[in-house]
Symmetry: C2
Subunit: 365 residues, 2 copies
């Protein structure tokens, strides 16, 4: 497998499988990766023809088994290993693909990924990360819901993974990293966030730790990477989406409020289109699962073909730059400096993590 | 004190004391309340003249002591009782005013209010609540940062207080109440939010408990009252502000991007002005402190005179409708049904709460 290969869950997402195959077609025109497409062959064969996916760029692997949007993570783990989603993850595990991409059920994808790929050594919990548009460009926010409760150590590991991502995908040599909090002073927040700040302050890591930021730091782009627990991160992400929808709806009403306003809209439409582009989730699509032994990217369930192609592009970028090796190297440097007897324990870590994963798999979000 | 009386901290807020006195002048034209104004008489006397505050509507009580924006809550508690902020709270405690309003340091105001007014019987922790603009009108969000960690019981008490507020201030007979979470299914979230949902489900309360909502439920106005812990609520509130600022900034850029766009803006400006009005925090100004033996309202530090007048209006509405009696009645009905031996303990509650407050006062946010 010298050529970059994407394992694709063709059956996940609101408009799957058509949106997925259209996305593959788009991705084929943007790069030279190869696609292992998992799903119902009877549906997929006509679609690859319709969207002119070149014959030498894909193979379809048939399965009837599908994880639905309604399936609980525990159900996916019990019954979904042979699904289009499960097989795509298995392909990464078996070395048949560099990355897996799915627009399906997030909780199921996380639970299956944890069980099948297991945690990277030195990482206790995986995180879901996504870039969000800001005043300055984009910032990475994590965790977005893989863990409803997080310890200081979890937050520190998220910071290390997020910073590595920013170096690889954003191309920032020494990214700024901050912790989401209810104030910027040292005394603010709960124990986990205060303790994480203490650890990160002097850590020998290729990042600039910039302390705390409040919720408005997300839109401002206060830091390149903003770290929080999965409960707060999920609420913040969804709040961003809800606020954007509220404002654009009200704006639409404003522009329909009179004939003059309609003409005004027509005149300003170039600039407004650029604004919409900047905010369009399809241009920032991709929830990266970080901390696993393999790269898995979750595309938004309602993504368009363009959005899916963008998620594929991010996944390939992560693979090409070997993000996981970078994270492991940072963890090693960090661990060696911080907790000197960690190395002796590292052999047993994988096993202990595996037990933890199985216990947690049913509660993925 | 038959006339409704407002105790006003004239020295708190970015543009105090001028903004405060202009706000009093505005409030005088909107109602017939009386104002006890606390602060530096030398600065205040010329301002009341300049803004034509009628002589029979106010009295100025001089103090040199001021709580600054930089003061920590613990400093305010030690040194701030004689400040304009502390004296305003004392006036409520002594029965010289129905409500206290301040645009000063939130953490200091909360710490002083807790120490001086103490908790209402049956409430373990106070909450900060604010109405936010939504697709449907407005929803009350609480807690916004009084408590970084909350138990299920705290969340239930917040729900009871929020529902009472919605009945009094929004005028909704049976408000819908929901809990902020990372999903809407029963299994989602941490223990506190799951347990709170179980308790609220069948509680004999004048509200319709509607289960969970995600972050986008805030902008959508999914429920009249949305309850969460102070950490998540603070992040959600600030995220809303940051997103709104991001979008309106980008929109401004869009409208300045060409001459045609500028003309377009001019034509659409009526509708855009209505949009801005709906989103303007000055029209939704006022962080209510709920759960104390007295009504304290925090105006935004950057509020305009109009914003301060709006906060005063909300505070007077709460006093006029005797919000605190309503809350106590609901708590009594709820407690009687839920935990039958609670009543026997209630006499001791006040004392225990008082001790807890003193321990917590230094960590107000």
């Amino acid at each position: 497998m010298s050529r970059l290969t994407v394992a694709l869950d063709a059956m996940g997402g609101d408009d799957a499988p058509e949106m997925v195959i259209e996305g593959v077609s788009l991705a084929c025109s943007q790069g030279d990766a190869f696609f292992r497409i998992f799903g119902d062959k009877a549906q997929l064969a006509p679609l690859v023809a319709q969207y002119d996916v070149p014959d030498d760029r894909y193979t379809i692997i048939h399965t009837d088994n599908v994880v639905t949007a309604e399936d609980k993570p525990s159900q996916a783990v019990r019954r979904g290993r042979e699904s289009s989603m499960g097989l795509a993850i298995q392909a990464v595990k078996d070395g048949d693909a560099h990355v897996a991409v799915s627009a399906g059920n997030t909780g199921a994808l996380m639970a299956l990924s944890k069980i099948m790929l297991r945690m990277m050594p030195g990482i206790d919990r995986p995180a879901i990360a996504t870039p969000l548009p800001t005043m300055r460009g984009e910032s990475l926010l994590l965790d977005l819901g893989a863990n409803v409760e997080c310890s200081a150590e979890n937050l520190v590991q998220f910071a290390i993974m997020g910073a590595a991502y920013a170096r690889v995908v954003f191309g920032i040599e020494c990214p700024t990293v901050g912790l989401l909090n209810v104030g910027v002073e040292d005394l603010k927040g709960h124990e986990a966030v205060k303790e994480a700040a203490k650890i990160l302050k002097d850590a020998p890591l290729p990042m600039k730790f910039s302390g705390f930021t409040e919720g408005d730091g997300i839109g401002r782009g206060a830091m390149d990477v903003i770290v929080t627990d999965g409960f707060t991160g999920n609420v913040a992400l969804k709040t961003t989406e809800g606020t954007a929808r509220l404002i654009t709806t009200l704006l639409g009403d404003a522009f329909r409020s009179s004939w003059l306003a309609r003409i005004g809209y027509a005149l300003a439409s170039g600039g407004i289109k650029r604004l919409r582009n900047h905010l369009d989730p399809n241009n920032h699509n991709g929830g990266m699962f970080l901390g696993l032994n393999g790269i898995v990217v979750k595309s938004h369930g309602g993504a368009t073909a363009k959005g899916l192609a963008s998620a594929i592009g991010v996944a390939l970028n992560m693979a090409q730059n070997d993000l996981n090796s970078l994270i492991m190297e940072d963890l090693k440097n960090f661990g060696g400096n911080q907790v000197s007897d960690d190395d002796a324990q590292s052999a047993g870590d994988a096993d202990r993590n595996n037990n933890k994963e199985q216990a947690a798999a049913g509660s993925g979000t």
